[in-house]
Amino acid sequence: MQTWPFWLAGIAIGGFVPLFALLSGKALGVSSGYAEACSLGKPAGNERWKLWFALGLPLGGLAGALATGGFDVAASSSAIAEQFHVHGTAQYLLLAVGGALVGYGARMAGGCTSGHSIVGIALGAKSSVVATIGFMIGGFAATWLLIALAGGVA
């Protein structure tokens, strides 16, 4: 099976939001699942489901990769490493620093690309529109910084 065209993936991802709400009564989100993982030492509150949801994501990724034939544990390098010539330890450092900013920023903004950009904007939330504008500003800035550091567009 091939990966899906943008419209099919968009309908599926967007359609999953009300279906999940109908099933569970909840608005889906991912970044708060990491926050739950960070508070595992404490007694489980009402938010523990977010951790279970997050833990399901790798299983879905596995299913997707098996369906498209893209499963390959030997792929040790992200496209970001190849495009910007960052290899070995430097790549892992870049991914970890990027990840740290993602985690820190998501907790500051109160959500990520799922909870803010898809669910929140669909709900018409001002906070989600502003957060997503921030996501885009940061994303463009970081990518073009990497392009500049790598010496231009490859």
Binding site: A27, G61, V102, R107, I118
Partner: protein, 142 residues
Amino acid sequence: MKPLVFVVSGAVFGFLLSMGRATDAAAIVGMFRLSDLHLFGVIGVAIATAAVGIALLRRANVRAADGSTIKLEPKPYHSAVLVGGIVFGLGWGLSAACPGTALAQLGEGKLYALATIAGILGGTWARTRLAQRAGAVSAAKS
């Protein structure tokens, strides 16, 4: 509702992210480079579809499968939303992953996603810790 229901829901969501190439670092770089607009299309169609679905849910005025009231509330707006968003975006660009896609990438066998996930956990922990301290300080003052 049982944990398994949420694990399966997360798996479905991860599968959809994978099929939509949201887990493909090249697609994310391409989006910010404006050389591959695929993910802008995915996000745009997803928002529109979710909005229509939510409107239908509201009109139907139904309860969730477990009998609970469906809670779909806008997230609160505050002064840290824009700055937090920009910080998140910088990380999105540097790692070519977001919280959901990093986990789905790991499932796809991309072991380098472990570095991204470790970073996200660290950043989440740091911000939560800082916010708790600030909260403790302001509580002590008042």
